[in-house]
Symmetry: C2
Subunit: 240 residues, 2 copies
Amino acid sequence: MSGAAPLHQRIRGDIETKIVSGDWPPGHRLPFEHELMEQYGCARMTVNKVMSALAHAGLIERRRRAGSFVRQPAGQSAVLEIPDIKADIVARGQAYGYELLSYRRRSASGLDLESIAVPAGADLLVLRCRHRAGPNPFALEERRIALAAVPEAAAVDFAANPPGSWLLQHVPWHEAEHQIAARNADSEVAAALGIAPGAACLVVDRRTWRSGAPVTSVRLWFPGTLQTFVARFTPAAGGR
Amino acid sequence: MSGAAPLHQRIRGDIETKIVSGDWPPGHRLPFEHELMEQYGCARMTVNKVMSALAHAGLIERRRRAGSFVRQPAGQSAVLEIPDIKADIVARGQAYGYELLSYRRRSASGLDLESIAVPAGADLLVLRCRHRAGPNPFALEERRIALAAVPEAAAVDFAANPPGSWLLQHVPWHEAEHQIAARNADSEVAAALGIAPGAACLVVDRRTWRSGAPVTSVRLWFPGTLQTFVARFTPAAGGR
DNA sequence: AAGTGGTCTAGACCACACC
DNA sequence: GTGTGGTCTAGACCACTTA
């Protein structure tokens, strides 16, 4: 079954096995490119591709003149999937429900700055909405949209369309920053989510930019018992 | 400043800009490799390297015979750094403190199965420890170690060494699964962390394998107000 | 059948780090 | 200097997919 695989894949597999098994412990110097070249009887670009990929994945570190070394697996990092709420609920086999709780258009005040970095006075859409899984509240969404970045949003009927889905389709690619924390539900959040005041909630804050300009920010409150984030990962040492 | 950059980096930057700016919206067909080759006056391997990297990053999708296309940015994903607790505290400029609260060696019972997938009766080390930042409790750690996978652990003095650090150094590379949730502190956790019972805590569960065999599992309780996880990310569409 | 991307070669020059 | 990795070339053959 490994006979049909591309050569670079086979080489990569061999090396990864050596590293993961501990056969080549952290700090161990890997063979030089020209050695692997001979060993596998291939061109240098082929081994270089493999080694570059391993370095990019954070498994090894490459130093000119010195060679390539197995990295210390310092610090855990995990790739979290933060699913689209609707898709997530549907994937659980439940009916997705959505309600717009409040809708305001107003100028940004100083209080908005910590959630969305727009200039004071900028035109904002401020929404609160609730997502339901079947009959049960699933998440409370506090959303701000910078109309300077997405003027079309002013005309959208967010009573019918969840802002997250709409934005995803109309602001194609962007940068984002996520922050995950735990907070006790205050009475307002508790009422909206149908949970006891003080219940632990998972709070996801997401801020989104497009070419440096803030587009939207959102705080999502999930009842702590309902939502968890799972991440399966390959160990990446601090890597870049 | 861009004149000195490697050519493939310049090409990649150009294409990413077009995509992120929305100039090439999702679904847009990118130029073929031979077109980019002409456009930049370079060899095909150079453009191929760029396009492969973009595909690997999830920004585009490549189909033989059809071409390369900008992907739909479906679903948020974020790379969370889950720092080593000691390194994290030190990085905040505080003194790191550590205490072993309890230590037991016993056989695995059915109750252990949900946290660490070892056979019933397997030899386990079960620890509880507390991490401090300066004088203040920072995290409570509930740790299980499968001695079948790491027999040396039985002889280690975990009153002096945090098990996380020791394991990191002695079980170099591994797979792990993380789960992040919010829970209310019960009275026991609250006492250990010096917080009010019921306070929201961020709970990180991590299970670790080495070549398929369970090595360790850990549950970390952080006071919700103290610890948050931040992730800055480049948009990755559901992809690989 | 044709055209795309996937892979690979056998060279080359260069930057950089260490000696 | 010397040897490593970083980058690039100008070809080539193949697999797959779609028309």
